[in-house]
């Protein structure tokens, strides 16, 4: 006698703590095995691209903060680099150094949230508190620099809004000194934890070819085994002056490209960011950071695609200028938006509980997915 079975459709979200915002997943289940995942997005759509068409270039910078709100510095950097290319202006060396320091501190802060919430998602609550304790110190550094803790409006076209605080270098060195042992502690607490490995290794394997075809970038692509980082491969700002490694997934606990690899690439990227910051604060030259800011920002007619390596992958701005003070069109290639597409492939054949482990390893920010 055979038992009648049928597929079940289960709705996850939009208000679900492990979807990191407002994401609705429509899961099709065969028993407890997932056969299909359809993400529904757009709950946080704030018309960024439409806003850009009525605002001047400097006015857009605060709006870019609000896309990937965990990596606001990096968002500003991408937009500003694009406009500077359109204007053909060179920024002073001190500005470039400060930008790199800020972007790398932001990368650490963003990865700490990714790692901390990832642990919390699958049941390890302590590392979450440890990560947020360290992130708080970075936010304090941002606060003494520009007054804001999350959305900065700090990197301006041609310069910066403020110079570094006199104590900044000392406090950053102090932070690095404290952070290094904390990172080891995090590894002992979470990375090599038996339960954590059981939940993440061999879960949600992303083969390299699938990753490239789906346009996946950032730590996800690197975890699948490709050494691809725009800081090195399409170098911008002054990243070519620094010596750092690009960690890739090695399949240490399971298969290359599984959730554990994606997690571990982020941990190792924080170590590399520390290296960059250490070099940058040793070499930082003197100079005026506001002198180069142009009074009148009217780029020539033309279009440019500027891209930077955000904590979540390749953030691109396609800016079309018609010669006026407002852009004709700004299209954002948001890394989370592109990376989220591959979720269906990752989840097929896994259990419902694994969806949370997989989604956490994709590390999306809904503010950026929906823009």
């Amino acid at each position: 006698m055979s038992v009648r079975t049928e597929e079940m459709v289960l709705n996850m979200g939009p208000q679900h703590p492990s979807t990191h915002g407002v994401l609705r997943l429509e899961l099709t289940l065969e028993g407890e095995i997932i056969t299909k995942v359809v993400p529904h997005i757009g709950y946080l759509h704030r018309c960024f691209e439409k806003h850009c068409e009525v605002m001047t270039y400097p006015q857009i910078i605060p709006y870019t903060d609000r896309m990937d709100y965990l990596a606001a510095m990096c968002n500003e950097l991408g937009f500003v680099i694009g406009v500077e290319k359109l204007l053909a202006i060179q920024v002073p060396e001190r500005v470039e150094y400060i930008r790199v320091i800020m972007a790398e501190l932001q990368r650490i802060a963003s990865h700490l949230v990714a790692i901390g919430t990832y642990g919390a998602d699958i049941g390890a609550f302590t590392p979450f508190l440890y990560c947020f304790r360290d992130r708080e110190k970075i936010l304090n550094l941002f606060e003494i620099t520009c007054g804001a803790r999350l959305l900065y409006n700090y990197i301006w076209i041609g310069g910066l809004s403020h110079d570094l605080h006199p104590d900044f270098i000392r406090l950053t060195k102090e932070f690095i000194r404290e952070f290094k042992p904390n990172l080891r502690e995090l590894n002992n607490l979470l990375t090599y934890n038996k339960i954590f490995i059981d939940r993440t290794a061999n879960i949600g394997i992303l083969p390299l070819e699938t990753a490239i075809n789906y346009g996946v970038t950032g730590p996800m692509l690197r975890a699948s085994g490709l050494r691809w980082d725009l800081r090195k491969d399409d170098s911008y700002s002054i990243y070519n002056k620094f010596d750092f490694e690009i960690p890739i997934g090695e399949g240490k606990m399971g298969t290359i490209g599984d959730s554990w690899d994606r997690y571990f690439v982020r941990v190792r990227e924080m170590e590399e960011s520390i290296k960059i910051i250490e070099q940058a604060i040793e070499q930082i030259p003197d100079g005026d950071v506001t002198a180069g800011i142009p009074k009148r920002i009217k780029p020539v007619v033309g279009h440019i695609y500027s891209r930077v390596e955000n904590p979540r992958g390749e953030l691109g701005y396609f800016i079309i200028s018609d010669g006026s003070a407002t852009p004709f069109r700004v299209k954002v290639r948001a890394p989370s938006f592109v990376n989220l597409q591959v979720l269906d492939v990752l989840c097929r054949g896994h259990m419902v509980a694994d969806v949370i482990a997989i989604l956490g390893s994709v590390d999306i920010v809904l503010g950026e997915v929906d823009r």
Partner: protein, 176 residues
């Protein structure tokens, strides 16, 4: 690594019947204009050719060129007749590290372009976004639904330059 000229030469040799427009005198990024009914063949060739291997679609942007005939409706709002919508395809080869920019022009009043989802899966959501915000119809797209706007949004495509906000949406006043 191939230069823009070499890539365009390869394309012209491969598709002698297609009338490509090579725009190499643009200030920042030179591009190639491809007809909308050939874009999938061209992309498939660019991906599979052994010397090109454009295995990644980096970005796909739709743009309202707003270059038709401007008129006014009864309320005095700008209405556009004719003109074009553009799609920009940024392609990159991870193996050879070369890049290319393709542009497709389509009729603004009846925009329809062949989908490249079968070539790169990443095009799926980009094309849905272009459909949602500009109303471009992608032929052969597997799942052409709205993506950022609500599924029941029936007031047009918001990123068009002559888009008008509706007064009410589901009983809520929109310009609040």
């Amino acid at each position: 690594m191939k230069s823009f000229e070499e890539i365009s030469k390869l394309l012209i040799n491969q598709f002698p019947s297609i009338n490509f427009e090579i725009k190499s005198d643009v200030k920042f990024e030179p591009y190639i204009i491809v007809p909308p009914n050939q874009i999938d063949n061209v992309c498939l060739f660019l991906r599979d050719n052994i010397d090109l291997q454009f295995d990644s679609l980096v970005n796909l942007s739709a743009v309202d060129d707003f270059n038709g005939e401007k008129t006014k409706d009864e309320q005095g709002n700008d209405i556009m007749k004719g003109g074009t919508l553009s799609l920009y395809y940024h392609l990159e080869s991870i193996k050879y590290r070369h890049k290319i920019l393709l542009r497709v022009l389509t009729d603004r009043d009846n925009p329809s372009v062949l989908s490249v989802t079968s070539v790169w899966n990443s095009a799926n959501w980009h094309e849905r976004e272009a459909f949602d915000l500009f109303g471009i119809n992608f032929i052969n797209h597997p799942d052409l639904r709205r993506i950022l706007m609500p599924y029941d949004w029936e007031f047009g495509h918001p990123l068009r330059k002559d888009y008008q906000n509706p007064e009410f949406y589901q009983g809520m006043k929109v310009p609040y």
